[in-house]
Symmetry: C2
Subunit: 172 residues, 2 copies
């Protein structure tokens, strides 16, 4: 199955001129969901990984499944104020202004090998911030894994320090 | 393993006097995560289920894993404005005012048998709204499954029409 056919393009969302890549059509198809997860697992089968980070909120879906399959822990990275315990934060740029992401300060231990997972790689700002959170806590970013990558936004140019894998690529 | 020991109580979050049940300590433990999912699967092993609904955002974690394990689709129910395609909405009461949840209008088909999953059952408002979304689309709520239930909030009183299962109970 070609997974790209399971992604729905929604024109003019969230604003005019933007074509939104809707993954709910892939999630709704049990076979497509299984295939996507198996493809992600195959990418890392020879790697030692201690835990999987999921970036709020769609990243939670794939991060949870991968952690479950590998028998390791899943760590949520969330928007400010959502995590209840002691956190650290990293900021990233938006089109206008900045935003930030948080992780529990005890979520990653020194030298833990962590895989970062999200549904979509766009400009890479949230991923860069998440990698910074891992490194602030002394962890090692084994890689960053995405269901979809928007190649035309060139996120890899800012993420050269990391190993990036995406299952589905869009060039427009 | 007694899963209740994997839940961290965070006092005074999100506001003074509230003891927050932090599931990140359970998620971070690969064995506890696997056990929780296996216990959920055991609860429904004789049921015909067509898809699993996860309620934003922590509900996505367990809903995704259950859907993956059962080889069926996962459907996100989200806060307003997050889902890109045509949606329907259901409202629920907050302490002050109301909020709403949305589902894609094509996510549930007539007579689909749907399991609703979230991390925590508190007053039951979001679950009731989610069940209403399923029923508006002609689906059947097979059950509602939670990692944690706050028994003292008596959600079951308002959810009498549904089969409720929770793995961990708190009575204070």
């Amino acid at each position: 199955m070609d997974l790209i056919e399971k992604i729905r393009n929604v024109p003019d969302f969230p604003k005019p001129g933007i074509g939104f890549k809707d993954i709910t059509t892939l999630l709704a198809d049990g076979k497509a969901l299984r295939q996507a997860v198996q493809m992600m697992l195959n990418l890392y089968e020879n790697q030692k990984i201690d835990s999987i980070i999921g970036i709020e909120s769609r990243g939670f879906i794939f991060a949870g499944i991968l952690a479950y399959e590998l028998g390791i822990g899943m760590i949520p990275v969330r928007k400010p104020g959502k995590l209840p315990y002691k956190t650290i934060a990293a900021h990233y740029d938006l089109e206008y202004g900045t935003d930030s992401l948080e992780i529990h300060a005890d979520a990653v231990k020194r030298n833990d090998r962590v895989l970062i997972v999200d549904d979509l790689l766009a400009t890479g700002g949230t991923v860069e911030a998440t990698a910074s959170l891992v490194e602030q806590l002394g962890g090692i970013v084994v890689g960053c894994c995405f269901l979809i990558e928007l190649d035309f936004l060139n996120a890899r140019k800012r993420l050269t320090r990391y190993s990036i894998n995406s299952l589905i690529h869009f060039d427009v």
